[in-house]
Subunit: 190 residues, 2 copies
């Protein structure tokens, strides 16, 4: 039942310009594949209600409100602060699993620098944990404490320093050798 009498060219016919979801014309641009989702979310995000406010601690009695998205040039892409203030953190809870068997050791010197344990770092040692090959352990050899990576050489245990400049130590039967625990963490003050 087609006829030629409906429609037809006439001014004002057809979809109105600006009736798309952006209310304006569009262009195609090329962007990295990994950021397609991010950009699509961003350009579709309601502009009006964009009032993300993050509260961060401040020494003054009343906490300061820091407004994000007040950029001068590129306006408001998703910021890490958007949804990233998640939870609170208790350092004791985070770093100490078993407080009954945990203690700290303050490190002197740079012999563990390749395991990124530095002079004056404090390491967290759990003496209840069974040391496995590859673990960073606190051991004593002939009455001296040392922090090393546990390896195994035939049947005798072997301690690898994390710093290449130091020689591995093969534990002989005659040596007093004791593993005091496994290093489970490290903390540092700047």
């Amino acid at each position: 039942m087609k006829d030629n009498k409906r429609g037809g060219f006439r001014v004002g016919a057809g979809r109105k310009s600006g009736s798309g979801c952006f209310g304006e014309s569009t262009k195609v641009i090329r962007v990295p594949t990994s950021r397609v989702t991010e950009i699509n979310q961003y350009i579709r995000r309601p502009q009006a209600g964009n009032t993300d406010i993050v509260m961060l601690p401040h020494p003054t009695p009343q906490k300061i409100q820091l407004k994000l998205f007040d950029h001068k040039v590129p306006a408001g892409f998703p910021s890490p602060a958007d949804d990233h203030i998640e939870k609170s953190l208790d350092l004791n809870e985070y770093l100490i699993t078993k407080k009954e068997s945990t203690f700290f050791v303050k490190i002197k010197g740079d012999s563990m620098i390749d395991a990124s344990i530095h002079d004056n770092d404090i390491v967290i040692v759990d003496r209840s944990k069974q040391a496995k090959v590859g673990d960073i352990i606190l051991a004593s050899i002939d009455g001296e404490f040392t922090i090393k990576i546990l390896a195994k050489h035939l049947s005798l245990p072997r301690l690898l320093p994390a710093n290449e400049k130091y020689q591995p130590i093969v534990i002989q039967e005659s040596m007093q050798f004791e593993i005091w625990g496994v290093v489970t963490g490290a903390v540092r003050k700047f």
Copy 2:
């Protein structure tokens, strides 16, 4: 002077995949005309961000005092009587000076590795401390959080990574730039 003896099909010929300015494949997407410039700037700006989640100190942390030993003292412990050697320590107290102005940020990537800040470390940031040149700071650049070393060059602030593979960032007037605090410590779990 054309001949058919150069080039020719052979494995490995031609431009390498991923050699473009994004280091990955691209796609075309349609965006509002008014935001083309903004998005092009955004996807091309230096990726300074090296932080992940932001956390606040726990309001009611566990109080755990554990023994602190010195790496260099001769083994013979535990010797609870010896107060000279043995101290005790609470990690929250040790690392957090001002709870009201402190928060935590998780590090992503290895841009600060020479400052011994590693992937997945958590750094402690004090917002009340005045940042000085040379300090490790948390800053935001155009909405992106980053941990960097604060420097100054010709009166413009500069953010230096602690890894020669990364480029310093010169802060221009046109950039949104804010210093959020000074990094006062770092913790790591093994």
